[in-house]
């Protein structure tokens, strides 16, 4: 029941009953204008079977970078009898901010006429979809309303711009036997000098080591170059509720996602094979692949990540490691691994080299702690606990980056992955 019909109805009832109780006809006469008002409202109220409205939603783009705003246009056409007033309202989805126009519009549509609800919005990240447009039509006075959901489906993916890391040469423990950019620590067809060996029939003449050959009569030597290959990388991203820390308007998960996007872009730019597993609601995963198409697949998944699953239900230890090739380099991005210690020995047994990037939640939320003695002590204890936890992970042969999110991640990753000493499968 609308507020207006309630008001008019209550006044009519009150006036009639007061007139009856007091036996005063004037009060009953005072109710007559209200009755005629309501009667004309009833006569003008919309008949649902005669409403023939259609809506069509169009978006400026199907993919946005999260910086520029996206225009949404919903065109509503009336193929039936005159409709008016018609209130159109679109739903505001979480993380959306309207920058221009309004989500509501009032219109009067005669037969064959159309109106356009137009607005622009921005969102940092996410997948947004609409199914319907809510329309409410009523009589001239707005007493009797009739709500309709007009089908108007559309969807858009907002994926933020990837901050590119400066490229550096990875030094993983093992590589795939496909040409790439990573020095594989075996002789082959690369660009860097690797060693000298005796000539084998079939070696190209331009690789002959003439000086050494001249020093050793009757023997011929060939210069060997270091083989450059690609590597197999798997990323595990922690998007559980426990990985979400908020400090004012900032979210730690957003830093984690930014880092994951940048790393994915850098790994794929280097020609490597990359796969992704998001530990969270629905456990979305991207199977191993190469190139720009794979980057788009990964960015699409990362754009839709929301903190969801409870860590008591979903543990990092449940991660299906068989998704990743054995001896692949596994990069885990997780701020808190207190209850997930079982996963780290599994990397060793599975033959994977692992790198844990752990954004520091204590440093991130430090401004939220009280500044008194108790607050300082709490921060100190939390730091110690984290230190012990990370040291325990290092003991399993895992490289750990303790990342204060306001510092650049790229140099830390470079140092961690450069320092590897190779072994051949």
């Amino acid at each position: 029941m609308s507020r207006k019909i309630f008001t008019v109805g209550a006044i009519i009832v009150c006036l009639f009953f007061t007139a009856l109780i007091s036996r005063n006809g004037t009060l009953a006469l005072m109710a007559l204008p209200f009755l005629t008002y309501m009667g004309i409202g009833i006569l003008g109220s919309p008949r649902p079977e005669k409403i023939e409205l259609t809506a069509e939603r169009s978006l400026e783009t199907r993919r946005s970078n999260g910086v520029s705003s996206v225009e949404v246009r919903v065109t509503v056409r009336n193929a039936g009898a005159e409709v008016g007033p018609l209130f159109l309202s679109d739903s505001l989805q979480p993380a959306m901010t309207v920058t221009e126009g309004s989500l509501r519009q009032l219109a009067v549509l005669e037969t064959g006429e159309e109106t356009v609800l137009k607005y622009a919005f921005t969102a940092a990240r996410g997948g947004f979809q609409w199914q319907t447009l809510h329309a409410v039509t009523s009589d001239q006075f707005g007493l009797f309303e009739s709500g309709i959901e007009l089908p108007a489906a559309a969807e858009i993916l907002v994926q933020p711009m990837v901050k590119k890391f400066r490229p550096f040469t990875l030094r993983p423990e093992s590589t795939l036997h496909s040409p790439g950019l990573i020095p594989a620590r075996i002789g082959g067809s690369g660009t860097d000098f690797w060693g000298v060996r005796e000539y084998h029939p079939g070696d190209p003449l331009r690789r002959l080591d003439w000086r050494r050959t001249a020093r050793h009569p009757r023997r011929i030597f060939t210069k060997e170059l270091e083989q450059e290959e690609i590597t197999d990388i798997g990323m595990i991203l922690d998007a559980r509720q426990t990985a979400e820390f908020l400090c004012g308007d900032e979210s730690l998960l957003e830093y984690v996602l930014d880092a994951a996007m940048s790393l994915a872009e850098m790994f794929l730019r280097g020609g490597n094979r990359l796969s992704l597993l998001v530990v969270g609601e629905g456990m979305p995963m991207v199977y191993p692949g190469y190139g720009k198409a794979q980057l788009q697949r990964i960015l699409r998944v990362l754009a839709k990540v929301r903190p969801g699953a409870n860590s008591s239900r979903v543990s990092l230890s449940h991660a299906p490691l068989h998704l990743f090739a054995s001896r692949a380099l596994i990069v885990i991005i997780s701020p808190q691994t207190t209850y997930d210690s079982a996963i780290f020995p599994r990397f060793w047994t599975h033959g994977n080299q692992a790198l844990l990037i752990s954004p520091d939640p204590i440093d991130f939320t430090q401004s939220e702690f009280a500044r008194d003695r108790a607050g300082r002590l709490a921060v100190r204890v939390a730091r110690l606990e984290r230190r012990v936890e990370l040291d325990d992970i290092v003991r399993h042969g895992i490289r750990v980056i303790d990342w204060q999110v306001h510092r650049q991640l790229s140099p830390l990753v470079r140092n961690a992955l450069r320092a590897s000493r190779g072994r051949r499968p």
């Binding site: 029941m1 507020r3 207006k4 019909i5 008001t7 209550a10 006044i11 009832v13 009150c14 006036l15 009639f16 007061t18 009856l20 007091s22 036996r23 005063n24 006809g25 004037t26 009060l27 009953a28 006469l29 005072m30 007559l32 204008p33 209200f34 009755l35 005629t36 008002y37 309501m38 009667g39 004309i40 409202g41 009833i42 003008g44 109220s45 008949r47 649902p48 079977e49 008016g84 007033p85 209130f87 309004s102 509501r104 519009q105 009032l106 219109a107 009067v108 109106t115 009589d139 001239q140 006075f141 707005g142 009797f144 009739s146």
Partner: protein
């Protein structure tokens, strides 16, 4: 502009009519009070409470009923209720048209509402005035039964429309 002018006119007539009714019977304090709901309603654009127009209408009808009991001129009190209803409707229209950016649609809606409002209030006023002129005496039970039937019909019609 037309909407605003009509709203101010209806508001003034209803408040002034009420005050005049009380002045005629010599109730000066009530005449002063009669202007208060109107004054509050003047700021309905600034006060965002959705219940302000309804509170105004309830107060005006309550004061008009008091006037009827104090034997103020009946036609004046009926006029007060008619114009208070018009002011309430126009204030609500003003609020709902905040979302209407299209000026052509706004004008059309204004015209449509104005026509229907004039028809409803004119007819209501004519019926009420006719009722004042016509003196019909009916037993209480008959009147009560008529009122119940009236409400029943209204309820049926409203339910049919809202269900559909």
């Amino acid at each position: 502009m037309l909407r605003r002018s009509l709203f101010l006119f209806s508001l003034t007539v209803s408040a002034a009519g009420l005050a005049a009714g009380f002045v005629i019977i010599g109730n000066w304090p009530e005449a002063g009070i009669a202007f208060l709901p109107g004054l509050a309603m003047l700021f309905h654009r600034r006060i965002s409470s959705p219940w302000l127009p309804s509170s105004f209408l309830f107060s005006m009808i309550l004061l008009a009923s008091v006037g009827v009991f104090l034997e103020a001129p009946a036609i004046l009190m009926i006029l007060v209720s008619v114009f208070a209803l018009a002011a309430w409707d126009l204030a609500n229209l003003d609020r709902s048209m905040k979302d209407c950016e299209n000026s052509q649609a706004a004008r059309r809606l204004e015209r449509k509402n104005g026509r229907a409002l004039a028809l409803a209030l004119g007819l209501g006023l004519a019926l009420a005035a006719g009722g004042l002129a016509l003196s019909l005496r009916m037993p209480f039970v008959v009147v009560f039964a008529l009122v119940i039937v009236d409400f029943f019909c209204l309820d049926r019609v409203a339910r049919y429309l809202t269900k559909g």
